[in-house]
């Protein structure tokens, strides 16, 4: 077993926990717990996770539990338990309503799952001080590499996804998004230049595809990290993407040498002494070899990574244009690829009498949910079933049929009819099967 310094894992654990805490506080402070989870009467579920719903006022408790777990992860206090609680609570929050799906939330979920299997608490942690028998200045090399590999997959796959004709040849969607930000200082005037949209599209694709390699090799690493900072700060300035840039910037620190990480930890210690915090020293190397349960962990990690490599390609199992049908779109690092908007007018028909009405979506969904629903077929189907229940309950009809007239515009193209308006959606149950009731995309996008 190759060993390496435990310092990189320790700093990663500390910063990851800290950033998660900040993210959760920010989320609550912006009032999003109420807006996204408590105010809506209906929530969109992931297939197979229909039982995961907001918990009423206990939702606050869930966020508090998650935040406490993040603090414990950062401190390395009862690490395995706290990272497990963090993983479960955070993932539960994300599963409550898929309207809020973001790739970076998914990243946090699987990263915390990965951390569950890594010995990130053996060094510079409360656990190590509490129990010297687990304290260790060395960890298996694979445990640090696992994080690097996951980051490399995220970047590389995000780059692959950009290799399509919309992104490269039409500079879409950046040529829609960037001009709108023309009022920004300094860069603003350039954002309306056509060449700038192409430059940013191509540079973005090149960045994503190559950055893991440039970070991996020590000679290119410092400049690569500068590129990471510039890239993510730029995306933060241009788009409203919350905490994601900071999470990625901090995560890529893992690529730096153990010495650099040790200096960061020494910095934290120094900061502690300035604040008059002088914890008892931790005793490493009590003599006994430290046990890492490799036989159990490595197979889990292999399966995890194979899944990570395959999952983004599951879209190949479906016919039709991925951007149009979105079958296999999520959980695949397809980031910032589409400007998509839709409009969906649902019609409820009484199968017995033929009496009909149109649905005012704002009665059941908030603006954000309605927007997401209008161009994602799994949302449309789930909502159609919900509407049938509502109108059955209201006594409008015992034999409802639900039809939708919908239009979707993708990456600057004119809006086109989206769902077959003649199809009673209730004939189909939510499933992973191909959605035959979608109308074909009247254009072609080539690429990954």
């Amino acid at each position: 077993m190759q060993e390496s310094s435990a310092a990189p894992l320790a700093t990663f654990r500390i910063f990851f926990g800290l950033l998660m805490l900040i993210s959760l506080i920010r989320f609550a402070a912006l009032g999003w717990i109420e807006k996204l989870y408590l105010e809506p009467t209906f929530h969109f579920s992931y297939y197979g996770f229909e039982w995961v719903k907001p918990l009423g006022n206990y939702t606050y408790l869930l966020f508090i539990v998650c935040a406490i777990a993040a603090i414990c992860v950062s401190l390395g206090y009862r690490y395995r338990l706290s990272v497990l609680v963090f993983f479960l609570s955070f993932t539960y929050i994300e599963l409550m309503d898929k309207t809020t799906y973001l790739n970076h939330y998914y990243f946090v979920s699987i990263m915390s799952f990965l951390l569950l299997w890594l010995p990130a608490h053996r060094y510079y942690s409360l656990d190590a001080r509490r129990d010297p028998s687990i304290a260790s200045e060395k960890v298996p090399k694979w445990s640090v590499d696992a994080i690097k590999v996951l980051l490399a997959i995220v970047y590389f796959y995000a780059g692959l996804a950009k290799l399509n004709t919309d992104w490269l040849l039409s500079a879409q969607p950046l040529s829609i998004w960037m001009p709108a930000r023309y009022h920004l200082p300094i860069i603003g005037p350039f954002l309306r230049e056509g060449w700038m949209h192409y430059a940013m599209s191509w540079a973005g694709a090149a960045y994503d595809l190559t950055i893991p390699f440039f970070l991996w090799y020590s000679r290119t690493r410092p400049l690569a990290f500068v590129a990471v900072v510039v890239f993510h700060v730029l995306t933060r300035v241009l788009f409203s993407i919350g905490m994601f840039p900071y999470i990625m910037i901090v995560s890529t620190l893992i690529f730096f040498s153990p010495a650099t990480h040790q200096r960061m930890l020494d910095g934290i210690t120094w900061l502690g002494t300035r604040l008059k915090i002088r914890p008892r020293p931790i005793h490493y190397g009590s003599g006994r070899p430290v046990h890492f349960r490799q036989r159990l962990v490595l197979p889990v990690l292999y399966v995890f990574f194979v899944l990570q490599l395959l999952l983004p390609f599951r879209y190949l199992l479906y016919p039709g244009e991925l951007f149009w049908t979105e079958q296999g779109y999520r959980f695949s690092w397809r980031v910032m690829l589409m400007e998509k908007a839709g409009y969906a007018q649902f019609k409820i028909v009484d199968g017995a009498t033929g009496k009909r009405l149109y649905v005012d979506n704002s009665e059941y969904l908030n603006a954000f949910q309605e927007k997401q629903m209008s161009f994602q077929p799994d949302f449309i189907l789930e909502y159609a079933h919900y509407l049938a229940d509502v109108y059955r309950e209201r006594g409008f009809t015992t034999e409802p049929e639900v039809y939708v007239e919908s239009y979707v515009a993708l990456n600057g193209r004119s809006s086109q009819p989206y769902v077959d308006p003649e199809v009673n959606l209730l004939q189909f149950e939510p499933s992973l099967r191909n959605k035959t009731w979608l109308l074909p995309f009247k254009d072609e996008i080539k690429g990954f």
Binding site: W32, L36, T100, L102, N103, H104, L168, S170, A171, S175, I176, W177, P179, A180, R181, Y182, H183, R192, G194, W195, Y198, A199, W202, A203, A206, T210, F214, R219, T220, L223, A224, A227, F239, S240, I241, F244, V335, M336, E339, A341, G342, Y343, Q345, I348, D350, K355, R356, L357, Y358, V359, D360, A367, F368, E370, Y407, V408, A409, G412, S414, S415
Partner: protein, 370 residues
């Protein structure tokens, strides 16, 4: 270092290649949103509010005269000024920003159907507070519609009810109270625009969800969908309930002006889209101009033209309707539904195609993307 330089050079080289690709030459977006906001504020919104304040003041004055002297002439003056103010409202109702949003102006002005029993019992008791949000269905234009046209079978009976020794004064008092409340609300909104909000509005020329362009455009769409398309046509025609609701038409008791009011509202929305000033004299920066600047098309026609054509088409269909919408709903609902469909077609053009071209998000929650 060398590799980094090489990479940068490669990126620059690649980007030049990208830019040389003239496959779809998009016109550069040189549109200045703040010029549009100034046009909206100074040439459309504030003049519309000024006109509304003036016509509501005239209504209030007429109501005062009528309260003191319940003559047929004075009643007619109230009715005429009510209609003039109602028409002006069609041009000032869509701006649900600032004080108008804060005061729930639209709810106090046009909540339909009006609560007749509530109004009658308030008048009988003679004690009411129209400031309360719970009283929104008992005031505004629909309440006056009932009082001015609905408390008797014809104008003579209405006048008689107002002249009645027992109840007449209470009715007249209520008409005045409702008119005053409307004038006050509108004045509050206007003075807020004149004392600071105009600059706030014009200054917020950015592009996030709370920027003025995004807010106003969303308000425009919301008003079009909710109040013009649904409120004036769809809901009475039973589009959303499956059952016809003739009582929900605008000016239900007047019976003569629902079409007129709808047409003014439609004109107002099309004029706003085209940046036409309130007095019709100037055409300034607008959504139309923005779309032209962006070179947006739909099915090979300029998107702005597609939208204007659909406005015109809807107007043609509506022009074919009779004046009394309640009667149409009862006897010929199919033509009401046709008007709804004509209005509906522009929702997709505006809400999907236009918003995408302008890069405006339909939700007010300024959430994270990725």
């Amino acid at each position: 270092m060398k590799k980094f330089l090489f990479l940068s050079l490669a990126i620059v080289a690649i980007s030049f290649f990208g830019c040389g690709d003239d496959g779809d030459s998009k016109p550069v977006d040189n549109f200045d949103r703040s010029v549009m906001l100034i046009n909206w504020a100074d040439n459309i919104i504030v003049p519309a509010y000024e006109a509304s304040v003036a016509s509501l003041t005239a209504l209030e004055t007429a109501a005062q005269n009528f309260r003191q002297d319940a003559t047929a002439e004075n009643l007619e003056a109230v009715q005429t000024t009510w209609l003039a103010a109602y028409r002006d409202w069609q041009r000032s109702g869509m701006f649900q920003l600032g004080k108008a949003e804060e005061l729930l102006l639209i709810e106090f002005m046009i909540l339909n159907p009006t609560d007749i029993a509530g109004i009658e019992s308030k008048i009988a008791v003679g004690n009411y507070n129209l400031d309360l949000p719970s009283q929104t269905t008992r005031q505004g234009f629909p309440a006056l519609d009932y009082l001015l046209y609905g408390i008797g079978a014809d104008n003579a009976e209405v006048l008689a009810a107002f002249q009645d020794a027992g109840t007449g004064e209470g009715y007249r008092e209520y008409v005045l109270a409702a008119a005053s409340k409307m004038r006050q609300n509108m004045e509050t909104v206007l003075s807020d625009w004149k004392n600071g909000y105009r600059d706030t509005f014009v200054g917020n020329a950015g592009s996030d969800a709370n920027a003025s362009t995004d807010r106003m455009t969303n308000d425009f769409i919301f008003y079009y969908e909710k109040h013009l398309r649904a409120g004036k046509v769809g809901i009475p025609a039973g589009v959303f309930s499956g059952d016809k609701l003739a009582g929900n038409v605008e000016a239900f008791y007047n019976k003569n002006v629902s079409k007129e009011l709808l047409l003014v509202g439609l004109d107002a929305m099309q004029d706003f889209f085209n940046g036409v000033s309130y007095d019709g004299a100037v055409t300034g920066a607008s959504m139309n101009a923005y779309l032209e600047e962006l070179g947006s098309t739909k099915s090979d026609s300029p998107l702005a033209t597609v939208i204007n054509d659909q406005f015109d088409e809807a107007r043609t269909v509506i022009n074919g309707l009779g004046n009394d919408f309640a009667q149409i709903v009862d006897n010929d609902n199919i033509s009401m539904l046709r008007a709804y469909d004509a209005l509906q077609l522009n929702v997709v053009n505006i809400k999907v195609d236009m918003l995408q071209a302008m890069c405006i998000s339909v939700d007010y929650i300024d959430g994270d993307g990725d």
